[in-house]
């Protein structure tokens, strides 16, 4: 732990600030807004609106493949995206097919079914409006295989029921039979691989959402190779805002991304403050060294 040297200047003491003080302040910057329910509303940007409009403009009954390529470690960022996509698709009357390239994905899609579909859309029927197909190993090789033959890889749903018995599986032979792919990812394999191995070769519309860390890697694909995407929690909050405008009933419902954007704002202010302090102390120290 750094010690405050007697006789050292204030900027030297500030420059040697214990990192644990910074951790504590960041923690407080996150906890206090959560406790006092400080939220912010973020208007949807063009890149999010384009994806929203693509889903909105699909005719009712369209087939939407949602891939859960993430796990609990990034659920705070990715799960609100899945919730927003599912709400939108089911409001429009689309059929949603839930799959995963990650072994941890099915747990997240099951959570979505239990907490969103069964609660908010009790009239939707499993096998007719939505289906849970689960995880298959193979990474981008799996996408490649699905592009030529979907049913040879997915012979049953997650519970082991023959997929041929589900009405919504009629007409599904390859990935090209889906009207849109929404890939929610947090790494490899994920959204990028869906663009490379399904969207581009199969000419299938691809959109989705990624963790903020992955977002800069996807910007080059927009707008030619991707309809749009949600970059991190902010992207999810923007999609929630678009959904709220299109479907006012969601103004009073839980919007997880929007509610956790408040701590984002305060934490970023603290970080910006420390960046300014760090630069200021550096400049002051340099000035002092030049002086003597």
């Amino acid at each position: 732990m750094a010690e405050a040297n007697t006789g050292s200047t204030w900027f030297e003491r500030l420059g040697a600030l214990d990192r644990r003080v910074i951790f504590l302040l960041i923690a407080l910057a996150v906890i206090i807004p959560l406790v006092v329910h400080y939220t912010t509303t973020i208007p949807a940007s063009r890149i999010v609106l384009d994806l929203y409009e693509a889903v909105e403009n699909l005719p009712s009954g369209s087939k939407v493949l949602i891939s859960f390529d993430y796990g609990p470690s990034t659920a705070p960022e990715n799960q609100p995206m899945a919730t927003a996509f599912t709400r939108h698709c089911l409001e429009k009357g689309h059929k949603i097919y839930l799959i995963a390239l990650w072994a941890t994905g099915p747990r997240q899609s099951q959570q979505l079914i239990d907490e969103v579909i069964k609660v908010e859309f009790p009239d939707k029927v499993y096998g007719e409006d939505y289906i849970h197909l689960g995880y298959k190993a193979g990474n981008q090789g799996l996408i490649n295989a699905l592009l030529s033959d979907f049913n040879s890889m997915y012979t049953s749903d997650l519970a082991g029921e023959d997929i041929e018995g589900f009405p919504m599986m009629e007409g599904i032979g390859t990935l090209k039979d889906f009207d849109i792919i929404l890939a929610i990812g947090s790494g490899f394999p994920g959204t990028k691989e869906w663009v490379q191995f399904a969207g581009d070769p199969g000419d299938i519309p691809v959109g989705g959402g990624t963790t903020a860390v992955m977002a800069p890697l996807l910007y080059p694909y927009y707008p030619k190779q991707m309809l749009g995407f949600l970059g991190g929690l902010q992207g999810a909050a923007e999609y929630e805002a678009a959904l709220m405008n299109g479907y006012p009933k969601y103004r009073t419902m839980t919007r997880r991304a929007s509610t956790t954007m408040g701590p984002q704002v305060t934490a970023h202010l603290v970080i910006v403050g420390f960046i300014l302090i760090g630069n200021l102390t550096y400049l002051m120290e340099r000035r002092k060294k030049r002086k003597y």
């Binding site: 644990r20 996150v30 705070p76 689960g134 190993a137 193979g138 049953s156 082991g160 956790t260």
Partner: protein, 234 residues
């Protein structure tokens, strides 16, 4: 009285909530300094993750996509959907390759695993090469060839698009010039390379900003969970 699955019972929910909360605190304890509680949580996470991936891979891929294809009539209660299907014996090939991968565990036979590895690497390299070439090279070049002026009804939109397109074109060209080392970075060429550095710095800055946002999002998620845990106590 309706039977409740043991893992869905209130007691089980409470115990799992406490385990998750305590493990979260153990991981956070590293922020103060390295300690045995953190080490325990870290090792537990690695072990559980490995076991989870192996188990899920076995039941969702090996059973339905391999064993059920080879021995459909013997699947019985494990995978009843397959019972009655015809056996597809060409799946013996992936089975053999899979077994060859396991020979790495025995030093005398480890060399056999190279055949399976060669197949995996060859397939991945061939597939990835074509896909990366199309999506990340050819199409990306095409995406940079954009009109500098796009007529639209709104003048502000038109100005905005011209500016955006100029940023894309100039940014790509200058960044590429920075990485061209066969000519000294002098004169106008050097100035363009200098602009390229600024473009790269802006990209790195945006990437760093996004990373910070991601980490704060995850912290918010955990803190939100811990608040729920504390509320459950009182």
């Amino acid at each position: 009285m309706e039977d409740t699955p043991i893992l869905a019972s209130p007691l089980a929910q409470t115990i799992s909530l406490w385990i998750a909360a305590l493990l979260t605190l153990m991981i956070f304890s590293f922020l103060y300094k390295d300690n045995p509680a953190y080490k325990f949580a870290e090792h537990l996470f690695v072990g559980v993750s490995a076991a989870y991936w192996m188990t899920v891979g076995f039941w969702t891929t090996l059973i339905p996509n391999l064993m059920a294809k080879l021995f459909p009539s013997r699947m019985g209660t494990i995978f009843p959907v397959a019972v009655g299907n015809r056996a597809e014996y060409f799946y013996i090939v992936p089975l053999v390759f899979g077994i060859l991968l396991l020979t790495r565990l025995y030093s005398r036979l480890a060399w056999l695993s190279r055949w399976a590895m060669a197949f995996i690497i060859g397939f991945a390299a061939g597939t990835n090469f074509t896909r990366y070439l199309q999506s990340d090279f050819v199409t990306q070049i095409h995406s940079t060839m954009i009109p500098l002026y796009e007529p639209t009804g709104n003048i502000m939109t038109a100005v905005g698009r011209i500016f955006s397109n100029l940023v894309v074109v100039i940014g790509v060209v200058c960044a590429l010039i920075y990485f061209y080392f066969s000519k000294p970075h002098e004169g106008s060429f050097g100035k363009a390379a200098r602009v390229g550095i600024w473009v790269l710095m802006a990209a790195f800055g945006a990437s760093f900003g996004y990373t910070v946002m991601a980490r704060v999002s995850l912290l918010t998620g955990r803190m939100s969970f811990l608040i729920t845990w504390v509320q459950s106590i009182f």
